[in-house]
Amino acid sequence: MRLSTRRRVLLELENIGCLNHIEVAFRPGLNIIKAPNASGKTSLIRGFTSMFSDRVPASHILALDKVNGTIRVQYDMGIYERNFRRTPSGSVVASGDTLPFADERSFDACVALAETGVVHKITGGGAGFRSYLESLSHGNHYSMIISSAQDLANELSRELAGHGFREFDTLPLLLTELTNLHIRRDLAKEKIRNLETGHEAGLQGLSTDMGEKTSVLSREEAHLSGLKRDLTREEEKEQQLVSFLEMTDDSAKVASQIRDGIAKSKEKQKGVKEEIGKQTELIGSLESEIEALEDQLEQEKERETQQLEGLKREIDHIDKAIILKEEEIQQAESFPPDDLKYHGRLVVEVRSEITKKIEWLEKVIEHFQEEYMRLMTTARLSFNRNVTKAFEELNLKGFENVFLDQDFALHLVREKSVQQPVETLSASEKLTISLVLMLAAKQTFLPDFPFFIIDELTLSYDPERFRKVVNYMTKRVPYVIVSSLASIEAGGLQVVYRTQNAGEVVPEIITS
C-alpha cells in the first residue's frame, strides 16, 4: 500500500512510557525528534511501532504507573487507535487497531534501535544473517514446516521403536525358534521310528538265537535220554550176566566168558555215565544260555520301553513348547487389548500406516527444503543486490563489496579485496553497515512500507556519514524518523522537519 506523501501523520500518545500526553505530526521527508535525555523519545518511538508491530511487549509501552494508555494515529483520512490496559494480575494487554501496512517484519527492516535487531547484531560483531533473512523472506514459515514435519517424523520413528513394535520385530526370531522346535520334534519322532525298527530287529535276533538254542537243547535232551536208556540196558545186561554167573560152575569156561561180559558191560556203563555227565553239563549250559537270552530279551524290551517313554516325554515337552511359542507369536503380532493407543490392532497394519506417514512427511520435508533453498537463495541475492546498490549510491569510501555468502555470513571486503571481520570495524562504520543492511532489507522485502525509524544512533556517529545515509533514506522512504539527543536548554520534546526539497531544518513543536 502506498501512502500519500503529501499528508501528515498525526500521532497522539496518552500514558505511554514516560509521556502523559503528547501529540506529534510526522511529515513526508525527514522528521527529527529532538529532546534531552529521559524526555520520552524512545517511549514515543516504541509507542508508534506498536501500531504496526507487536515486537515491543505491551508491558514496555504502557506507563508503569498507569492502568490504561492509548495511542492514536491519524493518517490518510483514517484514525487508528490502540489501547493498553493493565490487568489486576499486573500484565498488560493491547487491543484495538493497527495501521493498514502493519507487518511484523517491519520492526526488523525499518526500525533501527541500538539494543535490538541488525544494529545490535553488527555492533556486537555478529555476522550470521540466516535467521534475519528467514524472517524477512518468510523462509521461517518453511523452516517451521520443515522443523514440525521433522519433529513429527522423528516422533513417529520413535514410536516405531516402541515396545509393541519391538515385540513385533522379534517375530522372525520367534518363527526360527518355532521351526527349531518342529525340527526337534521331527528328530524325536524319527528316533522313535528308528528305535522301534532297530529294536524289532534286535528282538528278532534274540528270539532266533533262543529258538536255535532251544532246538539244540531239545536235541541234546533227546540224546541224554538215549544215553540213559543205553545205561539202563547195560545195567540190566550186567544183572542178567550176574544171574547167569551164579547159575554157572565157577570153573567152567562159560563162567570166565560171563565175567568178561560183566566187566565189559561195567566198562561200557562207565563210558555211558561219563557221556551222560558231559551231556547233562552241556544241557545245563544250554539252559543257562537260554535263560540269559530270556533275560536279555526282557531287558531289551524294558530298555526300549524306557527309551520310547523318554522320547515320547520329550515330544510332549516339545509340543507344549510349540503351543507356547505359537501363543507368543500370536501375542507379538498385535498390540495388547488394553493398549491405550492401538488397543488390539495388528502391529503390521499400524506400522504400515506410520511408515506411510513418515514417507509422506519425508516428501513434505524434501519439498519444503527445496522451496526454502530457492526462496532463501532468491532473498539473499536480491538483498545482496540492494546492499551493493546502496553502497554504490552512497559512495561510501573504503568498501569494495559487502555481501552475504551461501551460509548467510556477512562479508565486508575492503579495497584490494581484503576481508575485514565485522568486529574490527569502528563504531561509526558498524552503524553505517547496519543502516545500509536494514535499508537493503526494507527495499528487498518491504518496499512499500512508508516509515524508517532510527532511535538515538547518532551518539557515536560520524555526522557527515550520517547525513549521507539519512539523505539516501529520505529519497527512498516517505517518512524517515530520527530521534536525537538535544540539550536541556532546547526545552522539551520537539519534532524538526526537513523536507526533501527544502535544504534547511525547520523546527516545529506540536504539543508537549
Binding site: 522372525p172 518363527l175 521351526t179 507369536i329 498385535s334
Partner: protein, 129 residues
C-alpha cells in the same frame, strides 16, 4: 576339500531351514495363530530369501557341473597315464621301482578325483531331489 562343498552344505542347510520356516508359517496361518497380513509380511521376506537361496543353489549346481566335467576329463587323463605306465612296464621300458612309484602316484590322484566326482554327483542328486 573344495570350497564348493562348504558353500553347498551351507546353502542346503539354509535353504532347508528357510523352507521349514515357511512351512511353520503356513501352519500358523492354518491354525489362525497369525493374521493374513502378518503372514504376508513375514512370508514376503521368507519367499524372497527362498528365491535367493534357490538361485544361489542353481548357480552352485552349474559350477559343480562344470567341476564334474573337469574331473571326468581329469580321470580320463589319469587312466591314460596309467595305461601308458602299464605298457611301458610290460615292454620293459620302466624299472619295477619307478613303475610302482609312478603307479602309486597316479592311482592316488585317480582315487582322489573319483572321490570328489562322487561327492559332486551325490550333492547334485540332492539338489535335484
Amino acid at each position: 576339500m573344495s570350497s564348493w562343498k562348504r558353500s553347498f552344505e551351507m546353502a542346503t542347510q539354509e535353504l532347508d531351514l528357510t523352507r521349514r520356516k515357511k512351512q511353520a508359517l503356513d501352519d500358523l496361518l492354518e491354525k489362525r495363530r497369525v493374521s493374513q497380513l502378518t503372514y504376508e509380511h513375514l512370508g514376503k521376506t521368507l519367499t524372497a530369501r527362498l528365491l535367493e537361496l534357490e538361485a544361489h543353489q542353481r548357480s552352485l549346481a552349474d559350477k559343480m557341473n562344470d567341476r564334474a566335467d573337469e574331473l571326468e576329463e581329469q580321470i580320463g587323463l589319469f587312466e591314460l597315464a596309467l595305461a601308458y605306465l602299464e605298457i611301458r612296464h610290460v615292454g620293459g621300458e620302466t624299472g619295477e621301482e619307478v613303475y610302482t612309484r609312478n603307479k602309486q602316484t597316479v592311482v592316488l590322484g585317480l582315487d582322489a578325483t573319483k572321490s570328489e566326482l562322487d561327492l559332486i554327483r551325490n550333492s547334485l542328486t540332492k539338489i535335484s531331489l
